[in-house]
Subunit: 337 residues, 3 copies
């Protein structure tokens, strides 16, 4: 069985990571891919490997919408077809693997399965990213399997331990009510709703002395590991009407680079200090845990390691099970074909 | 067949390496272990891996005698039992693997086999370490299998080649008499007794001109790789009564970290220069040889590589054979069970 | 089937890389070898691994023509025989693997197959290196399989893409005529002959304005990867009589270190700047392509990756096929034996 579900949308990059007039070369699901923007503004994505001597095409150059291999000069168009040879009378028949890709919600999304099944309307909804929203985007490569990232993000109780100083958490989640919901489009929500809690330290000055808050932390997941977090803080007993701060919403999108490493796409408030803080929180607080789990499993299957399952894991475990079912279905279909 | 004998005492650390109020995390026999000192002074040793999301428990904190995982707050006692959850109404049933461990002769000793067979009285005798002896302890991690370390220490003729300058050896061992002895407790001794030899350069000024010495180098081995070296130098023909220097005795204790790397525990005279000298001799003179052999074997079994066996290897080879027999017996017993 | 043909001449080193009175230790075809010069001027080559405790003999010392292991003092002669023990009454019977090796054309050549078949007369002809030729020799270790190096050197069209600035190529090869020849001694030539081309930029000032040139680039290959390049530039229509620059001839000799890394032996005009330029061209222009192909194949067989074959590959492909036939023949012979 493949480590990856094929018929699903993955994010390859933030669109702004594709350089004007150049290439983005990125390892995704174990293979190296070449991404570039065509003159009509659309996105091309083909395997970053010349079929002649197997060097990365990204070591070559652009010739209009074509890619020219840097080693012996073969040219390829955005459909992966060889369309140019430096020898005038020769037209090699060769085809590079292609990937169905579209731009949506500031990201480049790709579908590694059957292109006939790829419906851009099923890309998870991050429409709020499209608007005039003050944010900058970040990208990190993490030394851990993408499902360990899902575990992290779908179980926010971890913030009470590893983000105490950075986020000012104070244990309020443990008096919260957890609920897990599924939606017809495959979304799984892991929601925490907390009533009458102490405010976090940074919010206390914005409230009357002794005032309590209601807080909600709602994480939405779409397979394989596309997540979206909504956070709200309101004065207690205001029926969530009197917000203490504007509601927060942030993408947390994870794409396998390999089975042991993951691309992590996120955003944050604009500014260099904010970018550094976002990186710091992730790299110093979350990443060591994920890397530690990756090392401990050392390639062992998560279920074979017989994990202890807590009630607070309900959303994370449901996401893992969904993904397992999808991979199994694809394996059965592949065997039948 | 396992690479390691299970029913045997190994040393995990010098006791002083376990920090007050903290943890020692150490890889031993391929697994990561967590060692800490309880308030009653005894030693706890459990696997350094949370059964929930598999992160190292050593990334967490102490809560009295308990360990609290740094990721989601589960607490474990010294028996590996989960005894705390941050959710007040939840009591997870989970158990971390434990290791039988005791403190003895300044070291932490552990028994990876059946705890019912673990008798602290069978820990090799290093009682001389307990006394008021001027010494400091050292620890190195070596890039070589632990049995290559045994080969090194059980065949001291190597000192005549790689320690000529550091120890002032002058070839006297080659006129010595080697004897190998076994004791009922499993000890194997590889002894060199040298009569009427030239003194080493550093000892010459302590003797009359032209005076000869008797010297003995006795190495004791207990499985798996716990060694102890006794050295004496006396005036020749004094029946070992007129010692030139006080007799020396030093532990040389080796514990596998992995099959290709080893912990080496030793001691030396107090002082920074002495510590540096001990490290230098080992790292610059012995370690390159051990690493070279490890690379040359590249995982191949020692016997499959058909080593040339010299008479001077008698002790080292007997130790290797004993260990092989022990591993075979355990493999047979495991198959029968 | 072995990754290497055995009954063939490989170059181990430039002769000047064998230090006077010392050793050269070099990994060749996956094994570590020890090379030294005997007092009669001939070359000895034995495995760099003591049969006693498997350490590299190169960590020892010379004793005349003998090698003395640095760990326990065993001595070996140039036939690999153990001829010395530090114990006077002991004569160990032990034999280190040897390699048939001779010095020729400034290089040390070895024959890993049946020594009875090794005929120094079949070493590829680099006799021009022996003369009074102003040149210095270079050696690099490349992160790529040796056949990827052959692909590079036997298809010089790559110079039109990756060496445009360093060599001033201007596309003239694409109007050239390619011919592939085989010789009875197994040589394969991949020749480009170009008539009436624009001169490269650096040659233009040496010609009348508008003058054209004839150019030839002839690469000779002998298995496994011993190549030799001849370059000439003459005024067009002079029947190659009026040379623009003296003819160039250079060795390009490749020997596997491992299946994924290669020794590359070459030469260049004398001088530090020339040495730096030769290294720069290879390391910055060729090596990234070869390493990229090595990474893309990731151990996959070249043919299994179904390479696109161009007409310009004719020489490189013929060399690959010849080598494949040789390896197959040796595998069949080995099975029959």
């Amino acid at each position: 069985m493949s480590s990856y579900v094929r018929n699903a949308w993955y994010m390859a990059a933030w669109a702004e990571q594709v350089p004007d007039g150049g290439f983005l070369s990125r390892r995704l699901l174990d293979r190296l891919w070449l991404i570039w923007r065509l003159s009509d503004g659309s996105i091309a994505m083909i395997e970053d490997r010349c079929p002649h001597r197997f060097v990365a095409l990204s070591k070559g150059r652009r010739d209009g919408d074509r890619v020219v291999c840097g080693y012996h000069g073969l040219g390829f168009d955005s459909t992966g077809q060889c369309v140019h040879s430096p020898f005038p009378d020769v037209q090699p028949r060769a085809q590079v693997a292609t990937m169905y890709a579209v731009e949506r919600h500031l990201g480049i999304w790709f579908w590694p399965g059957d292109p006939a099944l790829a419906d851009p309307a099923s890309i998870p909804d991050y429409a709020y990213l499209d608007g005039d929203r003050p944010a900058e985007r970040g990208h990190l490569v993490i030394k851990g399997n993408y499902e360990l990232m899902t575990d992290n993000l779908m179980d926010l109780t971890h913030a009470e331990f590893i983000h105490v100083e950075s986020f000012g958490t104070n244990g309020s989640i443990f008096i919260g009510k957890q609920s897990v919901k599924q939606e017809p489009d495959g979304a799984i929500w892991n929601n925490w709703d907390i009533a009458g809690a102490e405010p976090p330290g940074w919010a206390a000055p914005m409230l009357e002395e002794g005032a309590k808050i209601d807080q909600w932390l709602h994480m939405r997941w779409h397979a394989p590991a596309n997540m979206d977090l909504s956070i709200g803080i309101a004065k207690a007993d205001s029926n969530r009407a009197e917000l203490v701060v504007p509601p927060l919403r942030n993408p947390h999108i994870v794409t396998p680079e390999t089975t042991g490493t993951s691309h992590y796409f996120y955003d944050h408030a604009p500014g260099e200090a904010e970018a550094a803080q976002a990186r710091r929180v992730f790299l110093e607080e979350d990443e060591p845990m994920i890397e530690s789990a990756e090392e401990a499993l050392a390639g062992q299957d998560f279920w074979d390691a017989r994990p202890l399952i807590l009630a607070s894991d309900a959303g994370a475990i449901r996401a893992r099970r969904r993904l397992m079912q999808m991979r199994r279905s694809e394996a059965v279909a592949a065997n039948e074909a």
